[in-house]
């Protein structure tokens, strides 16, 4: 699809002034609400997402004989989140699709054998959507799971990547770049184990470019994981300072 915009200028700067492999500015906070067991807020550039986790609790009436955890997700986008007002926050095709992708990615991360025949509810609310909504939603869900104290194999992190006309891979696609025609690839990966839990492409990629784009996305995931780990450590120090075990680590 011919992109009418030049994603990458001659000096190697993108439309919003970032370098090709530069992420948008990430800010996150754990423990935003009291009522859910775990909650988190994450901002990646202008995409703002809230996540809440309830559980593990008794599965409501669903089939419970399979002795692993039932992950019940809900992805909903606030009606004022996009430039064009959406008249229904959830229930449309896109949010159901993202709900399935979230379930698939998170079931790869959660140690399900520790919570047999129980259910974990993960609710994601996108307050402002500015590209890579699914990726930021998954990162926020990971933080909320950590805040809820649910055992994870590892941080599951998602990142998007694209390809400029001059075949230079770009990481972390904003809505403007997405709309102006760049092909988009979303990867949800377990970075240290180098495993890919979920992969989705909005358009066709040429075979020999695919390899490099996936590699850049994985590099993005590793970078995001370090930022999230730092944030979680800082949150734990802050939480622990009251009980003065902050000096331990």
């Amino acid at each position: 699809m011919a992109s009418n915009f030049e994603l990458l200028s001659e000096q190697g700067l993108r439309l919003d002034g970032r370098r090709p492999h530069e992420l948008r500015h990430i800010k996150c906070k754990l423990g935003v609400f009291e009522q859910p067991d775990g909650s988190a807020y994450m901002e990646q550039g202008n995409t703002k997402v809230l996540a809440a986790v309830y559980g593990p609790h008794q599965a409501k009436g669903k089939k419970t004989e399979s002795n692993d955890v039932i992950i019940n997700c809900q992805y909903s986008q606030a009606t004022f989140s996009t430039a064009e007002r959406k008249n229904r926050p959830r229930g449309d095709r896109k949010s159901l699709e993202f709900k399935m992708y979230l379930q698939q990615a998170l079931s790869a991360a959660i140690k399900s054998e520790l919570y047999p025949r129980s259910q974990i509810d993960i609710y994601v609310e996108v307050l402002q959507a500015d590209g890579a909504n699914y990726a930021v939603a998954l990162n926020a869900a990971t933080l909320a799971l950590i805040d809820a104290g649910i055992c994870l194999n590892e941080f599951i992190v998602a990142c998007t990547a694209s390809l400029s006309k001059s075949n230079i891979p770009l990481t972390d696609i904003s809505h403007f770049e997405e709309v102006s025609g760049g092909p988009k690839l979303t990867v949800a990966a377990l970075p240290t184990a180098e495993k890919i839990a979920f992969l989705e492409m909005s358009e066709r990629f040429h075979i020999d470019h695919l390899e490099t784009v996936i590699e850049t996305a994985m590099a993005g995931c590793r970078e995001i994981r370090d930022i999230l780990e730092a944030a979680v450590k800082e949150h734990l120090l802050h939480m622990g300072s009251a009980a003065d075990w902050a000096r331990v680590c």
């Binding site: 009522q35 901002e43 202008n46 926050p89 509810d121 609710y123």
Partner: protein, 296 residues
């Protein structure tokens, strides 16, 4: 409302607290819980506000659209409310769970904003009979901590204060139809007058005492509450959409002093809110610190 299970002993404990005017969180019957208000959070919306009343968390976004006015009232603009109970508040709200609570909130807001003396619809009109602004007020309930009516009305008023309507110039084309040009300069905008916009004050009856700003537990052990919608017009309070909720009945005299209590509190609340919004306005000026949003 998220259903909080309370035992009989807890209910009597709360009842005794209310009787000697010293509630279980230390407030008297006329006190509100601490509130945090912040405007201009969502950049996609033309106006937004977030209000956190103890653990009730509301986020309101206002978006604008050009629409044809209602033929019966050609010179009035339009206002539409939409309440979405996010599942973040309780698993109960998942899917269509919170729809009847949302319906109740939308109805009481519509009822309160219905009169043009409460909200001046004339300022939203561009060309009488042909073009007018339509404001979508979308209310997102992120956490339920009791007293939703007050929190929602305060957040809606703050979001309306923060709304920036782009300036519209009409040029008369040859065929007699007028064409509208909306200026996209972000600073060239008009604001909406919110002095007379009503505030809902829930006066809740527990035992035979009336109290304001009930928490989730207090709401469970109250039989009936009066939602007083107070609108200030050149200084004196007016009622624009009062009704009873809670499925109980109330004696006539208790209803009267609930009304008085609601009016005085509403007046006080309105003054405080306008003062806060002025503060917000300077803060949003050039020397504004970053909006904190949920990162606090």
């Amino acid at each position: 409302m998220a259903y909080v299970a309370l035992s009989e002993a807890e209910k009597t404990y709360i009842l005794h607290g209310v009787e000697d005017d010293f509630r279980c969180d230390g407030r008297s019957r006329r006190d509100y819980r601490p509130m945090e208000l912040e405007t201009g959070l969502v950049s996609n919306a033309s106006g937004s506000a977030r209000l956190r009343l103890a653990n009730t968390d509301i986020l309101v976004g206002v978006k604008t659209e050009i629409d044809v006015p209602n033929p019966l009232t050609p010179e009035f603009g339009k206002l539409e409310f939409f309440v979405d109970c996010s599942a973040n508040a309780t698993p109960e709200f998942e899917g269509r769970g919170g729809s009847d609570l949302a319906q109740e909130l939308v109805l009481s807001l519509q009822n309160a904003y219905e009169s043009p003396l409460a909200f001046d619809y004339r300022t939203l009109c561009l060309i009488p009979g042909q073009q007018c602004w339509k404001l979508y007020i979308d209310i997102l309930i992120l956490e339920c901590g009791g007293n939703l009516h007050d929190a929602v009305s305060l957040a809606a008023k703050a979001a309306l204060f923060n709304t920036k309507l782009p300036r519209v110039t009409a040029t008369l084309l040859d065929a007699g139809i007028t064409d509208l040009i909306i200026s996209d300069n972000p600073y060239d905008c008009t604001r909406i007058g919110i002095e007379t916009v009503p505030l809902l004050v829930t006066v809740c009856k527990i035992g035979d005492y009336c109290l304001v700003d009930p928490s989730a537990e207090e709401e469970v052990c109250s039989t009936v509450s009066v939602v007083v919608s107070v609108s200030m017009r050149n200084g004196e309070p007016f009622l624009s959409g009062t009704h009873l909720t809670g499925g109980g009945a109330m004696h006539r005299d208790t209803m009267r002093n609930c009304l008085q209590l609601g009016l005085s509190i509403g007046e006080h609340l309105d003054k405080l809110l306008t003062k806060m919004l002025k503060l917000e306005q300077e803060r949003v000026g050039p020397k504004r610190p970053k909006t904190v949003g949920f990162l606090k």
